[in-house]
């Protein structure tokens, strides 16, 4: 079971003078329980691509199948949950419960089963079950984001697709969101993240997809990404490259601060520099 895209192309305003091709013959497949990072410049087609995963857009040529289901079926929305950019904007309920239960109740869940879904989702995201009676607008920005994410998770998707989840968020909430994603991934859900902040997501990802002008410019593991792609690269990798240029001999395919620290310390030890100084 996987997400499969075959020769997918998509145009906006097709047939008018404002026609713009957003996706150009995209082929890719995302396996179940994979952690995928989709990156690329603004306007490279990232958001258009992920809207194909849950059927918000259907390809104008080519085909999309998610777990064997074609892109026109509404059931896709249950299989691939999509968290939009600035998700807190979509809150509407009088209570957190109403908002989180919106998704599952749209798919016909009622009564106790619905209550359980909501409390499970809140628990999964580490939210206090007491807040389900509060107004979502009374929460802090970070909590609002988690509530919307709980609303998506309450639909029990197999794939969780997130559009720029870390934009406009403070460092504390960012790291807690990232660890939540890690936790969700460990529980067997595929995570697909669209972001250009690759430094923080590369260590988590198992697969990286780079889009350029609506085409897949690279697809592979993070290590391969660092070897074969020249930009965009995480700052820590750039630092390692700079160090090598300055005469050191460190490993370049590093994207986490801890690894870099270890690498630099080893290098310094080899060179016999006293580290207490």
């Amino acid at each position: 079971m996987s997400i499969d895209l075959r020769n997918v192309s998509f145009w906006y305003n097709r047939g008018t003078s404002l026609e713009k091709q957003a996706l150009n013959n995209v082929n890719l497949s995302i396996e179940k329980a994979e952690f995928v990072l989709i990156t690329g410049e603004v306007g490279s087609g990232k958001s258009t691509l992920i809207r194909h995963f849950n059927g918000l857009l259907s390809p104008q040529s080519g085909s999309v199948t998610v777990s064997g289901i074609g892109s026109t079926s509404k059931d896709l929305r249950l299989i691939a949950g999509l968290l939009m950019q600035y998700p807190q904007k979509q809150l509407f309920g009088r209570t957190v419960f109403e908002d989180v239960s919106f998704g599952p109740s749209n798919f016909g869940l009622k009564g106790e089963a619905l209550d359980k879904r909501v409390s499970d989702a809140l628990y999964l995201l580490g939210l206090d079950s007491d807040i389900s009676g509060l107004s979502p607008f009374a929460l802090s920005g970070g909590q609002m984001r988690l509530v919307v994410l709980a609303g998506v998770m309450a639909m029990k998707p197999e794939y969780l697709v997130l559009d720029e989840p870390t934009s406009g968020i403070d460092p504390q909430n960012r790291s807690s969101l990232l660890s939540t994603l890690k936790k969700l991934h460990r529980s067997g859900i595929s995570i697909i993240v669209v972001s250009h902040q690759i430094c923080e997501l590369l260590p988590l990802a198992e697969k990286v997809i780079l889009l350029k002008n609506g085409k897949v410019a690279f697809a592979g593991t993070p290590k391969e990404y660092l070897k074969s792609v020249s930009s965009p690269l995480p700052e820590i990798t750039l630092l390692m490259k700079e160090l090598n240029l300055a005469g050191f001999n460190v490993n370049e395919d590093i994207f986490s601060v801890d690894d870099a620290f270890r690498e630099i310390r080893n290098e310094l030890e080899e060179k016999g520099v006293n580290q207490d100084e």
Binding site: L56, F92, F102, G103, N106, G151, V152
Partner: protein, 256 residues
């Protein structure tokens, strides 16, 4: 969609070069003519004027189709009611429904009048950018003694341009909200009330925030409505005088 709304077609044709005030007055005069048109001869004359303007300015036909299309349902109802409820010589009868010749005539003329109102307005928006239109309106309103009522024409124009500025923003906002709620399985047909709440509450919420942001941005740049000049320099050129001359000849004929 952004660009499809109030779509301005950049260019340098006859109508593009005219002063917005000339075009606005022209639109007003032609609207009066359209509303007064009561025979097919006049309609044909209007069609001739319209087509010659469109062709001479090389405007895309699609723009005009788009301006009329959303109103087609309304036009259909207008036409059918005139057709059914006007008494006169029956030309067709089916059970209790009878269609009269007068109804057909009246219906088509009234519908065509509305279509032409839209088309001529589209002619203005196709050849004038929204900010030029508002500047034009501001200058036209200036002689009116509005300031004795506590309103300045500049404030009116500012309000207008801000409203125009917000329409595509609102639309974009609405579209992304719709996508978000659709992703959570919203079915407008199945649960319309829920759909209205789940879309309108966040839309109003974020719009109010947006408005506040714009107000703050204007405030922080010390916006004041007094003593401001416009980015567009209004210049009445030979071409505009020519048009005003045509307008007055036309008006004299009209009165006679």
């Amino acid at each position: 969609m952004n660009n499809l709304f109030l779509s301005f077609v950049p260019g340098s044709s006859l109508l593009h070069r005219l002063d917005p005030r000339t075009k606005i007055i022209g639109l007003m005069l032609s609207s009066i003519c359209i509303l007064e048109a009561s025979s097919f001869v006049e309609i044909v004359l209007l069609t001739f004027v319209f087509l010659s303007l469109v062709i001479s300015c090389k405007l895309p036909a699609m723009h005009f189709v788009r301006s009329v299309r959303p109103m087609l349902f309304f036009f259909a109802i207008l036409f059918i009611t005139q057709l059914l409820f006007t008494e006169g010589n029956t030309i067709y009868r089916f059970k209790w429904i009878s269609l009269s010749y007068e109804g057909l005539l009246l219906g088509s003329i009234i519908t065509l009048r509305f279509i032409f109102l839209l088309l001529f307005a589209a002619l203005l928006t196709a050849t004038t950018s929204a900010s030029r239109i508002t500047t034009g309106i501001e200058r036209l309103l200036r002689p009116l003694p509005l300031r004795y009522m506590g309103i300045s024409s500049h404030d009116l124009a500012m309000m207008m341009s801000l409203s125009i500025y917000f329409v595509p923003l609102l639309y974009d906002n609405f579209r992304s909200l719709k996508e978000a709620q659709f992703s959570r399985g919203l079915n407008i047909k199945k649960t319309p009330v829920k759909a209205i709440f789940s879309l309108s509450v966040p839309l109003v919420n974020s719009s109010l925030r947006r408005v506040e942001e714009v107000a703050l941005a204007m405030e922080s740049r010390c916006y004041t409505s007094l003593g401001r000049t416009s980015i567009h320099v209004m210049e009445v050129k030979k071409l505009d005088y020519l048009f005003f001359f045509l307008y007055s000849i036309f008006f004299i004929f009209y009165i006679l």
